[in-house]
Symmetry: C2
Subunit: 345 residues, 2 copies
DNA sequence: CTGATTCTCTACAGCGCTGTAATGTGCACC
DNA sequence: GGTGCACATTACAGCGCTGTAGAGAATCAG
């Protein structure tokens, strides 16, 4: 390991510790000769500042924690990427905690509040309740990502899920669809995004004057594509008919596409399909995926901005920022011919 | 922020700091009454240990750094997930650094060697040279992931790329293919995995007694599916014919599938296709993807094992571990009828 | 040439925790 | 009722760095 200390460099260069520290930090008032001498000592000894010590002294860590359910769901991976990039741009590092991973993961994610580990927290609660969040956070600066029922004192960045779902339904309606399903109703308590998306789905149907048929709320045993595939198979086998689907997320859409193909149902001719999240793969599927596209980059920028304001002392009430989304029109639900001017918000 | 200190708890409970510390660390020899008293004080004051201070005192951080090119390529996301889970299982946290993200990212990834930030480093070099690695690492424990030309003093975990590529070619040959392409030759200097995979591809062709046609080494302008799509379009337009493709990775395979479909080329009838990495999506594509499947979980377990050994003092020569892979047979390159007993290593 | 001002640099006390070594306390046993 | 021993607890010196306060050197105006 590296055991060259500031004091060693100081001795080697014949100056005080603090002068070395100043050189390291590019403090302006140092004679060039001194600076050169110190720099030479640093290079020669291979000195590297010890971050923990610096932290202890300054109280700042330069790290943010990002709590997401899991890393290998494309939406979270892409979001994490944007956040990490954005954080790096502001000289912060990001410590990623997966909250649904394993035994101790949940506890660990809370434990981040172990004082002094990070300067602030970005959290994407999916299964955590408002109370759990409130408790876990202690008094650290935090910004919440995504929808959900959380204490309003917290900052939060999200897209308008209800509106987006309404728009998705609207697109399908304009494509002449009348039996529109929602794929992705969890068995257990619904996750917050699902709640909002279903609400928007219902609103969309109502606005179009379509009947709401509970058979068209297709339940899922899990979050994976395989679960969606089996759900569609089951639904078809049960004789339920539909000509449009709004999917809770793209992973589910993927499974649906495959199930439909296996059943010789044509997309979009027989069934048009709208996904959600705009996973990168969606654009290149054999039937490319029309999908709700949250502006991930803007989510990241906004969230980091808010968090850094908190870190730097802002202590006002929680701010709720709605980030824009678009509906990315591709093959699985094309633009209605009658509707060239159509643009979503 | 949280400013309850050990000494505050000690005062509140009427014991010494060290006793509180002992309670926090579940040190066995404490009278139950004392433990209870201290625990009550901890709870009441909402004490949380300050990690930087603990670090400074112990020298250990409980963090590992993971340097990967980027988070939102499925292979890296899945690998990161496995590594983070595995690390969590051993009470380590993982700090993810993206090495090709932006301006300062490269520097930052090296800077991790800022002493005391992490106990060890997991690095997946793709573009870093051996020298850069050697330099960046200083003297921290490190384990390298994936192939590449790196100093042999380092531990390293990888799959046998050459062999896997040979097996992929072999599968295609057994399917009767004779014009087998390799999709994914970078324009710039080849990345290490590409080098190995092309080597295996060539070996596979030779073993089958097939001619090597450089037209079948299809170059790419980038790593994305879109690049692959355009590359296949170009290749078809140029009149180059092929009946099998080995893809450098699944993302590329995705683009190829779409380009082939657009060109009315049937998969696998006209062209059979083998991907690489076994991205989760591959199983659910409309034409599911036959792919080389590295055992990511085992890569993660092995890498963490090796790293922790290093952290705990092992200082011997570099160990190279080859982790097994399989070829996941799916629709894009099915099992040859003649070959029911076929199994890869 | 003097005193004020600016520029450089230093000394040293913490930041909050843990390891060490030492001290105190209770119990069993002869 | 001592003696020994194991159990409980404490005091305190760091871990390596930075902030503060201030000393010393250099510069400048008058």
């Amino acid at each position: 390991m590296n055991n060259v200390r500031l004091v060693d460099v100081a001795a080697h260069a014949g100056v005080s510790m603090k002068t070395v520290s100043n050189v390291v930090h590019a403090y302006p008032h140092i004679r060039p000769a001194t600076r050169a001498k110190v720099q030479a000592a640093i290079d020669e000894l291979g000195y590297r500042p010890h971050s923990a010590a610096r932290r202890l002294a300054t109280g700042r860590t330069g790290m943010l924690s990002l709590a997401i359910p899991v890393l290998d769901i494309p939406y979270f991976a892409e979001l994490a990427r944007c956040l990490a990039d954005e954080a790096a741009r502001r000289d912060y590092r990001v410590l990623i905690q997966q909250t649904i991973a394993g035994e101790k993961a949940e506890r660990a994610a809370l434990d981040v509040s172990e004082a002094g580990l990070v300067d602030g927290i970005l959290a994407h609660p999916v299964s955590l309740s408002a109370d759990e969040i409130e408790q876990a956070v202690a008094r650290q600066p935090i910004v919440l990502l995504g929808e959900g029922d959380v204490p309003s004192r917290f900052d939060r960045v999200m897209i308008d899920n209800v509106k987006a779902a309404r728009e998705a339904v609207d697109l399908l309606v304009r494509l002449g669809r009348r039996r529109i399903a929602f794929l992705g109703v969890e068995r257990a308590p619904l996750t917050p995004p699902t709640v909002d998306r279903i609400a928007g789905y219902r609103q969309g149907l109502e606005e179009a004057g379509l009947e709401i048929d509970d058979d068209l709320l297709i339940p899922l045993d899990g979050f994976g594509s395989g679960d969606a595939l089996r759900a569609i198979e089951r639904t078809l086998a049960a004789g339920t008919r539909f000509d449009g689907i709004v999917c809770r997320h793209d992973g589910v859409a993927l499974g649906a596409l495959r199930a439909l193909r296996a059943a010789k149902v044509r997309v979009p001719d027989d069934v048009a399909l709208v996904g959600w999240d705009d996973d990168t793969a969606g654009e290149f599927l054999e039937t490319s995926l029309t999908t709700v596209r949250p502006d991930k980059q803007m989510i990241a920028t906004t969230a980091i901005d808010l968090l850094i304001e908190r870190i730097e002392g802002y202590d006002g009430p929680g701010r709720h920022v709605i980030v824009p989304h678009t509906i990315e029109i591709r093959e699985s639900a094309p633009l209605p011919a009658s509707d060239r001017g159509f643009r979503d918000s």
